[in-house]
């Protein structure tokens, strides 16, 4: 019995230490790292991501044929997103993490454009910083470049339609896009690593639960930050 208690004490200490130190663990800055997903799932997410990529590319090609200078603007937006994700912001638990910036990008440029730009940002993060990876780019692309931006754009439109309050719309768009990105990441991990007893749902609850502790404050931080940025931009 005594041994058992010591063990659980050690487990509790380990768990809390883990929660404090290792914020969004395998999803560093919410990216699943290279080689983390089984090959079947890696391919699956690539296949899911590709249609969005092609669709985004088509709309980009159309825009840039008419106005070649928009390439500059898009590249600047992409570089901005990349650099923003290198910026550390404090989250309430005391750890630091990075904003995704996709919420702001989606509201400014639309979700189709972000599905390509997000992918390019992920590629740069993999090739320049070793964040994320090539095999897992499909999975990360779906969460960060497709679902996050679509959600942000939808929420922004919806809230603007319902309340007309821009600050609120921006806050919700950025915060929920951030939050949803992590929910999708959790779902991807749960699908790949279902719990032996509870299946996918239990695994999802586990992953989502663990990340929630750091991600919810972070999502709020990103929402607030985006509102701050938006308000400053209004003065220009």
């Amino acid at each position: 019995m005594k041994k058992h208690q010591g063990f659980s004490l050690a487990m509790m200490a380990g768990l809390s230490g883990y929660l404090v130190v290792g914020s969004p663990a395998p999803a560093h800055a919410m990216h699943i790292m290279e080689g983390f997903l089984p090959v079947g799932w890696a391919i699956f997410w690539w296949v899911v991501y590709l249609p969005f990529l092609v669709w985004g590319l088509r709309s980009l090609a159309r825009i840039t044929r008419q106005h070649p200078e928009t390439k500059l603007l898009l590249a600047l937006a992409g570089a901005f997103t990349f650099v923003l994700s290198a910026l550390k912001i404090p989250s309430v638990t005391g750890s630091c993490s990075h904003p995704t910036g996709t919420g702001l990008g989606a509201v400014l440029f639309g979700p189709a454009v972000m599905s390509v730009l997000g992918g390019l940002v992920l590629l740069f993060q993999a090739l320049l910083l070793a964040h994320g990876g090539l095999t897992t780019l499909g999975a990360n692309g779906v969460s960060m470049a497709v679902i996050g931006p679509f959600m942000a754009y939808g929420i922004y439109r919806l809230v603007m339609h319902l309340s007309g309050r821009q600050s609120l719309a921006i806050f919700l768009a950025a915060a929920l896009a951030n939050l949803l990105t992590y929910v999708v990441t959790s779902a991807q991990l749960a699908l790949a690593f279902p719990s032996a007893t509870g299946g996918v749902l239990a695994a999802f609850a586990k992953f989502a639960g663990i990340f929630a502790l750091t991600q919810i404050p972070l999502a709020i931080s990103e929402g607030l930050l985006t509102v701050l940025v938006w308000n400053w931009l209004q003065t220009y």
């Binding site: 883990y18 910026l87 912001i89």
Partner: protein, 262 residues
């Protein structure tokens, strides 16, 4: 910030090799690593580390620290894979799978045997795949990678965007580091509230700067006869190396044979 990671791609000893040779090699090994058995994956980790540290002469300290950071992320992700929670009355059902556990209220929390196996698999796979990514990162300059993408007929819009983004990323990183230093020199980031305020100012400055850059760059492009494309002449100065080709071919075939014997 991370400028120095990019610096090695331009100064490493494998620089003269054609980027295609290095890229295809890294991608093939990455493919093998993502489906192989743990023992093969271990060999891949060792082999590619020899390439990065031995052949490319990336300082072991730098390579080690990047790998170390990855290892920390891996370790922190293990609890999520091995911990399981079931309601206390189901405890008997999972006894076979449990290495040890404890009761919290109505819940039984345990370390699962299958989870441990899974964590080991994931860990080995990541440790084999990451050096493949790092080989690309440390030895192929991004400019040469773009040349390969053009050769492989990747859509022009994509290559143009990558080219411009690469240029702008370093411009903005520079602005970001300088502005952040300036904020620190004036006492920013002292409290959490000021931290948030400072970071917000920084982000909005970046947006403003990017819009200003847009105007400046469109003038700059006009002077250079911009016609909608970003065609450049890439100078293929690389030399194909038979020695490295043989080693990579023999190595990969060896890995596949080893894999099939399992």
């Amino acid at each position: 910030m991370h400028h120095h990671l990019d610096a090695y791609a331009y100064t490493n000893r494998l620089r003269p090799l054609p980027p295609q040779q290095k890229l295809i090699f890294a991608l093939v090994v990455l493919g093998i690593a993502s489906i192989a058995h743990p023992a093969t994956q271990g060999l891949i980790l060792i082999w590619l580390s020899v390439w990065i540290v031995g052949y490319a002469r990336i300082p072991p300290k730098v390579y080690g620290s990047v790998l170390g950071v990855m290892l920390i992320f891996l370790l922190t992700s293990i609890p999520a894979l091995v911990l399981e929670i079931v309601s206390a009355n189901q405890r008997a059902l999972v006894q076979a799978n449990s290495v040890g556990g404890w009761v919290v209220g109505n819940w039984y929390c345990f370390i699962s045997r299958s989870g441990l196996v899974q964590a080991a698999e994931v860990g080995m796979r990541s440790l084999a795949c990451i050096p493949c990514l790092l080989l690309i990162l440390f030895t192929i300059p991004f400019a040469e990678l773009l040349g390969v993408l053009r050769q492989w007929r990747v859509p022009g819009v994509l290559v143009d965007l990558l080219l411009l983004m690469y240029r702008f990323i370093f411009l903005f990183l520079d602005v970001l580091t300088q502005l952040q230093l300036a904020q620190r020199s004036r006492g920013g980031y002292r409290t959490r509230q000021r931290w948030m305020y400072s970071a917000g100012l920084l982000a909005s400055q970046l947006v403003v700067r990017s819009l200003q850059r847009y105007q400046q760059f469109s003038l700059g492009l006009a002077t250079r006869g911009f016609n909608g494309d970003f065609q450049v002449y890439a100078n293929p100065s690389s030399r194909y190396s038979r020695r490295y080709a043989i080693e990579s071919l023999v190595g990969c075939v060896g890995l596949v044979i080893l894999e099939l014997r399992f």
